[in-house]
């Protein structure tokens, strides 16, 4: 039922080669293209707007949910609302991802609004990959919104990757953390051509003992522009660490605007930001191992974004 373009995109964004094990929901060109639920994970379509509700029963362990999206037809523009209700003590892996194959002349756009409601002591690992391809003039646009509402002791690990082919992206991530909740974010971003990427984080730590560790690594090449903004608010005794590390190349432009906001004497907030070109000595070292300058550059970037 899936054509080869869709299959290829699924491999890129969700590492899916065959039908995945566990719960899944495929969305292809604005329509549902397959769904599976399990005894513990239910998926239902929303009735008032496009999107799904994913309900994970309390105590569910070692299960996964895949919800990849493929846009293969040129000119589709959609906003999809997906809500995840993760029960107490559950521990699951959620793989989202969107791939756009645009060979036409119209813009293709997918704006996924993902809300996560994490129950007490639940854990999720959320993996989101974005990918674009196709040689049409139509732009490939992805504007993901991620909202995390974390109850006491909830832990979320977010891995967000966008390495290739997305022309314009506005990534918005908002999180609110209760007591002892912990959020870990690893973002990897690469832009090239005349791409534009905005990545904006607002994390509020409202409960005692909550913590966030947010690390964004990016490479800006050619004439692309990146804008990184993070705001970490400490309203209780909490620990926040954000790090933005960018390699800038060619004629690229990178802005980084970190903001820390402490409303409690025991809030510990740290931000580190670095923007710079590839260190000359790294290139030199790899060239002494026999690589050309551009091969050395590729190795350094691939390692940095891994």
């Amino acid at each position: 039922m899936l054509d080869s373009v869709s299959k290829h995109i699924l491999e890129e964004v969700a590492d899916i080669h065959e039908t995945p094990i566990g719960a899944y929901n495929f969305r292809v060109d604005g329509k549902s293209a397959g769904r599976q639920t399990t005894a513990n994970i239910d998926i239902t379509s929303k009735t008032d707007k496009p999107g799904i509700d994913v309900r994970i029963k309390p105590g569910t362990k070692h299960e996964s949910v895949h919800i990849p999206v493929v846009l293969a037809e040129s000119g589709i523009r959609e906003t999809v609302y997906n809500d995840f209700y993760v029960g107490e003590d559950a521990d699951v892996v959620i793989v989202a991802g969107c791939g756009i194959h645009n060979c036409g002349n119209q813009d293709s756009e997918h704006d996924g609004v993902h809300r996560f409601f994490l129950g007490k002591n639940s854990r999720i690992k959320y993996i989101e990959k974005h990918y674009g391809e196709g040689d049409g003039n139509g732009r490939r646009i992805l504007n993901p919104v991620t909202e995390m509402y974390m109850e006491e002791g909830a832990v979320a690990e977010l891995e967000m990757v966008q390495i290739k082919g997305v022309d314009s992206t506005k990534r918005t991530t908002v999180a609110k953390l209760d007591k002892d909740a912990r959020l870990v974010v690893r973002e990897r971003l690469m832009t090239h051509g005349s791409q534009y990427a905005l990545s904006e984080y607002t994390v509020e730590m409202n409960g005692e003992g909550s913590s966030v560790d947010l690390v964004s690594r990016s490479v800006a090449r050619e004439d692309s522009t990146q804008d990184y903004r993070s705001k970490v608010v400490g309203n209780a005794a909490c620990a926040g660490h954000t790090e933005c590390d960018a390699i800038i190349m060619d004629n690229a432009h990178v802005y980084a605007t970190p903001e820390l906001d402490a409303n409690c004497i025991d809030a510990q907030l740290i931000h580190e930001a670095a923007i710079g070109k590839i260190a000359g000595e790294q290139l030199t070292k790899l060239m002494t191992l026999g690589l050309t300058e551009s091969e050395a550059e590729e190795q350094i970037i691939n390692g940095f974004l891994k």
Binding site: M287, T288, L289, G290, Q299
Partner: protein
């Protein structure tokens, strides 16, 4: 193997002028030879190694490698002709792992067990290191050993080591010496080591003493070593010509 003819390197100095760092330097490293370069801090030893590798380009003179003029060849060309260089201060990489670097060095899909052999030869417990990132989390001594392991993985005709002993603990020192001895037997290539260590000088075929960017003396070990040991306390200081900035101790990593 390697021949330097009247090599000169002049670089810009801090005051907008220029200074000669390597002056009219000529030397050869024969096939299968083990040559050790020594000399005071700031005398131009590392600069000489960088000139041979192509990291610095000479402003005068000629460099020949197996009869071929490589004076203006790029670093990559020289590497692929068979020159390797372990830096005095190894480079750190965010994201690249030890195994990645060993694979690049060996130019093949090195298996984990092959990679482990190289790490074991430099005294690193392989399984703890193979997947470590070569970043700021490694200690100076660990980094230095990985740098040497990369040269082993390359197995080049000419291997240059810049103060390989720096930062390596005493206990491992004899192992390091045996690494060089085995390397010499296995590769049938030449080894050029920059060192201040008597034990390394001791296993050399030839010793070259550099001072103020030129060769003060060179010759077979048995001839040179007694001189050096005799004059070690009374280092010749430079005046005029090359301006030498003296950095920390001999074993600074």
């Amino acid at each position: 193997m390697l021949e330097l003819k009247n090599v000169t390197f002049e670089a810009a100095d801090e005051n907008g002028g220029s200074k000669i760092i390597t002056r009219d330097l000529s030397m050869t490293v024969g096939d299968n030879k083990f040559v050790v370069i020594t000399g005071p801090n700031g005398s131009g030893k590392s600069t000489l190694a960088r000139l041979i590798m192509g990291i610095n380009q000479p402003t005068g003179g000629q460099i020949l490698f197996n009869g071929r003029d490589i004076t203006h060849a790029s670093i990559t060309e020289r590497a692929n002709l068979g020159i390797s260089f372990a830096f005095q201060q190894p480079v750190r990489f965010k994201g690249l792992k030890v195994i990645d670097l060993l694979r690049i060095a060996s130019k093949k899909e090195l298996t984990v067990s092959e990679a482990c052999t190289y790490l074991a030869s430099v005294g690193l417990c392989a399984k703890d290191y193979i997947n470590r990132e070569v970043n700021a989390s490694l200690s100076g001594g660990e980094l230095k050993r990985i740098e040497i392991a990369m040269i082993l993985a390359r197995g080049s005709l000419l291997s240059i080591f810049d103060e390989p002993e720096a930062g390596i603990d005493l206990w491992s020192f004899s192992n390091l010496i045996s690494v060089f001895e085995t390397m010499r037997e296995n590769i049938h290539g030449s080894i050029l080591i920059i060192s201040h260590q008597e034990r390394i000088l001791n296993i050399a075929d030839e010793i070259v003493v550099i001072d103020c960017g030129s060769i003060r003396e060179q010759g077979p070990k048995d001839e040179i070593l007694p001189h050096i040991l005799g004059t070690a306390a009374a280092r010749i200081m430079c005046d005029g010509g090359a301006k030498i900035s003296r950095k920390g101790g001999a074993a600074n990593a």
